[in-house]
Amino acid sequence: MLQVEDLQVKIDDKEILKHINLTINPGETHILFGPNGSGKTSLLMTLMGYPQYRITGGRILFKGEDITNMPVNERAQLGIGISYQRPPTINGVKTRQMVEICAAGKIDAAALAKRVNFSDFLDRDINAGFSGGEIKRSELLQLTAQDADLFLFDEPESGVDLENISLIGGTIRQLLQRDFKVNTRKSRKELHNERTKMGLIITHTGFILDYLTADKGQVLYNGVLTCASNPREIFQCISEVGYGECVKCAI
C-alpha cells in the first residue's frame, strides 16, 4: 500500500505540491489527470525520491515503511518503479545493461526484450537517438525486468504511434496484473482478488484507458489533488468542459 499524507513539496522556494493525500491499495491502479504544469510529474518524482523535490511537510508510507527520506535506490529496491517520459541518454551504457541492472540477475534480458519487440535495441546506448515510442518500450522493458510492486508511469502513451500503443497498453496491463487472458485456469474474480500490483499513471490523452481498467482517477490542479472519482467520468468531464471545472474545486 502507498499512503501519502499531507505531502508538501517545494522546488527551490516554489511550492509545487500542496497538502497531497493519496492512498493506493494493493491491486489498485489510479489515473492522474491534470493540465500542464500542475505538478503531476513532480508528484511521481517525489514518490521516487528525487532530491530536488524537497519535502517540507507530510510523509510517504510504502508497505508500511516511512520512505519520506529514503534514497532513490532504496525505494527502487523496496518495489517502486518508474517509467520516465524523457529519460536521459547515458553514453556507452547499453540497453541490455540497464535491463540487467533492473532485473538484478533474476531475468534474462534477451527473452524479455523479445516480448516488447525490442531485441534490436539491446546493444544500443540507452536512449541515444530513441524515438518517442522506442523510449517507452525501453522504459517498459526495464520496468518488466524490475518487477516492482508500485509502478509510476509518466505519460506512457505520449509520442507513441498507433501501431505501438496497443503493445504499450498491453504491457502495462500485464505489469499491473490486469490482463485476464494470461491464465485460463483461474476465474477472473480470483485473478482480481489476487492482484497486488499498484499503478499510478499520468495521462493527457486518456488513450491508455482504452487498454486497461483503472480503479480511480485523480485530478491534480495547481499542486492540489482536487478530485478522486471514476477515471472515465473524469476524463469525459475534462474532454467536455476542460480543466476549468477543476478550478472550482482547487480553491
Binding site: P71, N73, A76, Q77, N91, G92, V93, Q97, I101
Partner: protein, 403 residues
C-alpha cells in the same frame, strides 16, 4: 646519415612545441644490459604481472609474436607466424638495407630534443613488418619496460604493413613495480601500404614519476586503414604526444581513439593530427578523458586538403574529482567540398544520469561507476576481440582504482 646526425645535434636542446620542458640531464641513459630470454615463461612473476597490466601476455595466448625490451636491451623478439617479421631495430639496420627506406623517413630528427636524443643515443626499438598479402590473425605484442631507476629509455620503432596485409599490434609500456622516476622517449614510424590494414593499440601503464614523450608519424596509402588506439589510465607524471598521420592515397582511412584517465598531479597533453591529402580519404579522432585531479589537454586536428574528404572529431571530458580538461578540437578545411565536423563536451557526471540508474536499484557509487565505465566504453570497429578484451580489462582496472 651524417646529415641527420648533424641536424639532431643542432636540435639537442630544442624545446618541444608542447608540454612542459624536461631536463634530459636528470636522466641517465647509459646502456643497461639484461640477459636475453628465449622462453618468456622464465621472466620473474612481478615482471609478468606488470606486463599483463599493459596488455602483454607472457603466456602468448592468442599472440602471433612478442618483442620485449627492458631499459636499453632487447630481451626477447620472435615471430610465431610466417609473413611476420619482428626484430630489434639496431640489428635490422645492420642486416637489411631496406630498413633505411623507413628509418627517419617520416619523423624529423630535429623536431625537438626528444627526437634528437633518439637519433643520437638510440637504445633500440622494434621493427614489425607484415609481408605483402599476409594476414596476421592474432595480435603482435611488444613491451617497453623500464626497470632502472632514473633511466631514460630511447627507442625507435618501425611498423610496416606491406600491400594487402593485415596486422594488429599491441604495445604495452610499463615499469618495474619499485620504479619511481624515469623517462621514455619513443619514436614510431608507421607505414600502411596499399590496401593494408594496421591496428596499433598502445597501453601505457607507467608510474607516478615517469615522463613520457612519444613522437609518431604515419602514412597510409591508397585503400589502407590505420587504426590507432591509445590507452592511459594509470598514474604518470607527464605525457605529451601529438601523433601525425598522412592519408596519402585515395580512400585511405585513419581512426584515432584515446582513452585517458588522469590521476592527481599528472600532466597529460595528448592528441592526434590527420592530414587528408587525397579524395575519398576519411579520418576520425575520438577521445575520452577523465580527470581525477590531473591537467589534461585533449587535442585533435583534422586537415582536409582536397575536395571529397570526410572527417570527424569528438572530444569528451569528464571532471570527476578535481583537475582540469582543456579540449582543443581543430578543423582545417583547405578545399571546397570537404565534410568535416567536431563535437566537444567537458563537464561532470550529470545528476540526472545518476538518479536514473539509482531508480533502477543501483547505489550512488555503483551508478557513478556504471556511467564512468560507459563513458570509456567506445566501440572501436575493426579491432580484434583479443585487443578489445585488453582495453576492457584496462577500463575495468582503472574503474576499481578510481572508485
Amino acid at each position: 646519415m651524417r646529415d641527420l646526425d648533424e641536424k639532431a645535434l643542432k636540435a639537442k636542446d630544442k624545446k618541444a612545441a608542447l608540454g612542459q620542458d624536461i631536463d634530459l640531464g636528470m636522466f641517465d641513459s647509459s646502456p643497461v644490459s639484461h640477459n636475453y630470454v628465449k622462453e618468456l615463461a622464465v621472466l620473474p612473476t612481478v615482471d609478468k604481472e606488470r606486463m599483463l597490466h599493459a596488455g602483454v601476455d607472457t603466456g602468448e595466448k592468442e599472440r602471433s609474436g612478442t618483442y620485449v625490451q627492458k631499459d636499453s636491451t632487447v630481451i626477447h623478439a620472435h615471430s610465431k607466424q610466417e609473413g611476420l617479421e619482428i626484430m630489434p631495430i639496431k640489428a635490422a639496420l645492420k642486416k637489411y638495407d631496406w630498413v633505411q627506406d623507413y628509418y627517419w623517413k617520416l619523423a624529423s630528427v630535429d623536431t625537438d630534443k626528444y627526437t634528437a636524443r633518439a637519433r643520437l643515443d638510440l637504445h633500440d626499438g622494434y621493427v614489425i613488418r607484415a609481408l605483402a598479402g599476409s594476414r596476421v590473425i592474432y595480435p603482435v605484442q611488444a613491451c617497453l619496460y623500464l626497470e632502472k631507476e632514473g633511466f631514460s629509455q630511447n627507442v625507435h620503432n618501425l611498423i610496416i604493413a606491406e600491400e594487402g596485409s593485415e596486422l594488429h599490434i599491441i604495445t604495452g609500456c610499463t615499469t618495474a613495480p619499485h620504479l619511481k622516476s624515469g623517462l621514455h622517449v619513443g619514436i614510431s614510424e608507421f607505414f600502411v601500404k596499399k590496401n593494408a590494414k594496421l591496428s596499433f593499440t598502445m597501453i601505457h601503464h607507467w608510474a607516478e614519476e615517469i615522463m613520457v614523450r612519444p613522437r609518431s608519424v604515419g602514412v597510409v596509402e591508397e585503400g589502407g586503414l590505420f587504426l590507432n588506439n591509445y590507452i592511459s589510465m594509470t598514474p604518470v607524471k607527464s605525457v605529451q604526444m601529438y601523433p601525425t598521420t598522412y592519408l596519402a592515397g585515395k580512400g585511405a582511412v585513419a581512426r584515432f581513439y584515446s582513452l585517458l584517465v588522469g590521476s592527481p598531479g599528472a600532466e597529460i597533453d595528448v592528441g592526434g593530427r590527420i592530414f587528408l591529402k587525397e579524395p575519398g580519404t576519411r579520418a576520425e579522432i575520438i577521445s575520452r578523458a577523465i580527470t581525477n585531479g590531473a591537467n589534461i589537454t585533449a587535442r585533435g586536428d583534422l586537415v582536409g586538403e582536397v575536395p571529397g574528404v570526410k572527417a570527424h572529431l569528438e572530444c569528451r571530458g569528464l571532471i570527476l574529482n578535481g583537475g582540469t580538461i582543456h579540449a582543443i578540437p581543430e578543423l582545417h578545411g583547405k578545399a571546397e567540398d570537404v565534410e568535416m565536423s567536431h563535437e566537444a563536451a567537458v563537464g561532470k557526471i550529470a545528476q540526472e544520469e545518476i538518479l536514473y540508474l539509482m531508480s533502477r536499484g543501483l547505489s550512488e557509487d555503483e551508478a557513478t561507476a556504471t556511467i564512468v565505465r560507459g563513458f570509456l566504453n567506445v566501440d572501436i570497429p575493426g579491432l580484434p576481440a583479443q585487443l578489445k578484451a585488453e582495453i576492457d580489462r584496462a577500463v575495468e582496472q582503472s574503474d576499481k582504482d578510481m572508485m
